[in-house]
């Protein structure tokens, strides 16, 4: 068993264990952290396949940005775990039966035809750049789906703004220009009053 094989099985088993952890963790924060672990080890597997760009993008984008946001949301929301778990055990036998049936069927269908022709990963030379290859493909062969994906992001942006931005009538807000323009005379009225001579002590 070569080093690559050992590394693959190590990463793969960590990924699977982390995946199980995501599902069974009681605390949502722990579940999110398990997901981070799953992403990191999946990035390791991609690294073994010489897909450096994807590995780094996975760590940067998912672990660095998406999961941090996710953790923020999980921590900020006041989730009542007891309420979420209500009825869990009542439906557990039914759910477990369905899940067990699905797993059994999958094993039965896919396991019966164990094919030996699992393709081995292509090994490239030292001058191979995964990033360059991806970039070339994205902007030539796959330019059409790439553009549609961009439009989908635009729709997401339009939808997010349309759903969250609302101008309520009657809301007081600052007008900075007016504030800067204001002179002392506009706001302050000095009233001269003759001072009283005698201060009454009583």
């Amino acid at each position: 068993m070569s080093f690559v094989d050992v590394a693959f099985y190590l990463f793969a088993s960590i990924t699977v264990m982390a995946g199980v952890g995501v599902v069974i963790a009681r605390n949502p924060v722990h579940a999110a952290l398990y997901l981070v672990l799953a992403f990191c080890s999946a990035a390791g597997i991609w690294m073994l396949l010489e897909a450096e760009f994807l590995a780094i993008a996975l760590v940067l984008v998912y672990v660095g940005a998406v999961m941090v946001l996710f953790l923020f949301v999980v921590m900020m929301l006041d989730i009542n775990l007891l309420q979420l778990r209500e009825g869990f055990w009542r439906w557990f036998p039914f759910g477990a039966l369905l899940a067990g049936l699905m797993v059994f069927e999958m094993i039965w269908v896919l396991g019966s035809t164990q094919t030996a022709d699992v393709a081995t990963a292509v090994v490239h030379g030292a001058d191979y750049s995964n990033t360059k290859e991806l970039g070339r493909l994205l902007y030539t062969d796959y330019v059409y789906p790439f553009e549609i994906a961009a439009v989908i992001l635009l729709v997401a942006m339009v939808a997010a703004i349309a759903l969250t931005l609302r101008r309520r009538s009657g809301v007081k807000s600052q007008n900075v220009a007016e504030q800067v323009k204001a002179k002392k005379a506009d706001r302050l009225r000095i009233v001269k009053m003759p001072s009283e001579n005698k201060v009454s002590s009583k």
Partner: protein, 483 residues
């Protein structure tokens, strides 16, 4: 790679995208009262798209963008129909949305984005583009349903639609990845070739097929993947319900036809059996549940489930006749549902939704012409001659009898007989019951003209279906590469 050769077939999509971006920006400059300008701009865009599609039409099948995009007769016909459909949705919903303060630039640009997604689906030749088009369409629709933020029902509908839609997309993607594993390609033509040349791992193929059919069934809304349809149709504002329930069915037909017929023709024995079960279950459950509804939007939702079951019958029978009948059915259904939802919006007014059956009571006394139009639409949905709905059902049943599934035709006729009850009940309510309210119905001239054209169109195309039917037959023959 010749750049122009790629861009010209897709010119209508490019024009649409450019115009949506322009409308998005132009709309920001407009005040709330001048939204009519945006509306006109959208209608001009749709007209422009139609002209470009007709001008750029080339005989035969044209592939572009590394075989990911296909322009053929079927795609062009369906695109023209969807421009017309979206345009009608906007005309019908203008008054309704204005009365509710939702006639905004976002609504119109999201409708155009949804149209773009449909167009991408209609002329996709690759799993990647099929999926991305579907997501573009679905994402726009989720957002449209949620636009009415203050309504708890609409928000709930949007949430259900979003979660179940995401689940369906997941199933579809899982199935696609299985097929990729079995055939080594994502392009429909290459998958078809790989299957006909014999695939080693046949069970992997069947496994992927099950997931693909489940995902498609979710998107079409057929039993047992129909749970979201009544809730979403009921909860969404009627204008959005119309948008969800009408035009996307054209894209859904193209989607199913391209995946199952063009890509997986070699597995037709496997998927025909699955579709038969889905179709019978949809016709049974849809018709029986619709009887119990008192809300007309819910009733129409169950009727959609039934119609989709009928549409599948055409795909089951196969051949030019079967697929052509299916396409004809999709076009006919879009026309009928546009009219029916349009009628609900015409009868609604500010602060009042005419979405219960009781609101149709005595419509003949309040407005005889509208009642007559609604009668034509309901007769068409029930499949009674001489309307388009009759001919659509007739051609599907004819195709299925030709292939020898006589029992299937008998079952379908029996269930549509049961279904006739709830369509005829509306006619009875309109003509034989006393009206509950005497508020005058105000119809703006454009909406009135459109509902007239829609109702008479249903009648006219039922009397002379030949031209449309032959267009559908030629389209599927040419596009699905049938002998």
């Amino acid at each position: 790679m010749n750049l122009l050769a790629n861009l010209i077939p897709a010119s209508s999509e490019i024009f649409l995208l450019v115009m949506v971006c322009f409308i998005l920006i132009a709309d920001l400059m407009l005040t709330k009262s001048s939204k009519l300008f945006t509306y006109l701009l959208v209608q001009i865009t749709l007209l422009g798209c139609s002209i470009i599609t007709i001008v750029a039409h080339e005989p035969g099948v044209v592939y572009a963008f590394n075989n990911m995009y296909v322009a053929d007769m079927m795609s062009d016909v369906l695109k023209l129909m969807s421009y017309l459909g979206v345009s009608m949705v906007l005309v019908y919903s203008r008054q309704y949305l204005m009365a509710r303060g939702m006639f905004t630039g976002e609504f119109m640009s999201l409708a155009l984005f949804a149209l773009l997604g449909m167009n991408v689906m209609i002329s996709a030749n690759h799993f990647l583009t099929l999926y991305l088009g579907l997501e573009l369409l679905s994402l726009s629709l989720y957002a449209m349903v949620a636009l009415q933020r203050d309504s708890a029902v609409a928000t709930e509908a949007a949430m259900k639609y979003f979660v179940l839609g995401a689940l369906a997309s997941g199933l579809l993607l899982y199935g696609m990845s299985m097929l990729y594993g079995a055939t080594g390609s994502l392009e429909l033509g290459a998958i078809s070739d790989a299957i006909s040349n014999g695939v080693q791992n046949k069970s992997l193929l069947a496994f992927g097929l099950v997931f693909i059919v489940s995902g498609l069934a979710f998107k079409l809304g057929v039993v047992p993947f129909h749970m979201w349809v009544p809730d979403v149709y009921h909860g969404a504002p009627t204008a959005m319900t119309m948008m969800i329930g009408s035009v996307p069915k054209l894209a859904a037909f193209a989607f199913v036809a391209r995946i199952l017929v063009e890509g997986l023709q070699g597995l037709s024995q496997d998927w025909t059996g699955m579709l038969i079960i889905l179709s019978i279950a949809s016709m049974a459950l849809g018709n029986l549940s619709a009887i119990a509804q008192t809300n007309i939007k819910r009733m129409l939702a169950y009727s959609t489930i039934t119609h989709m079951g009928f549409l599948l019958l055409g795909l089951i029978s196969g051949g030019i006749e079967g697929y052509g009948a299916s396409m004809f059915y999709a076009v006919a259904y879009v026309m009928m549902s546009l009219g029916a939802f349009g009628m609900i919006m015409i009868l609604s007014r500010a602060g009042f939704e005419a979405d219960t059956l009781d609101d149709f009571k005595g419509l003949n006394q309040r407005s005889p012409w509208l009642a007559f139009m609604m009668m034509l639409l309901m007769l068409s949905m029930a499949g009674i001659p001489p309307t388009i709905g009759f001919y659509a059902k007739f051609s599907v049943l004819h195709a299925i009898i030709q292939t020898g599934h006589v029992w299937l035709a008998v079952v379908a006729v029996m269930f549509s007989l049961i279904g006739a009850f709830y369509y005829l009940r509306i006619i009875k309510l309109m003509y034989f019951d006393a009206p509950e309210s005497h508020v005058p119905i105000v119809v703006s001239s454009d909406t009135g003209l459109l509902i007239t054209l829609n109702g008479l169109g249903v009648l006219f195309l039922g009397l002379m279906p030949g031209a449309l039917m032959s267009i559908c037959a030629v389209s599927v023959q040419q596009s699905l590469l049938l002998p």
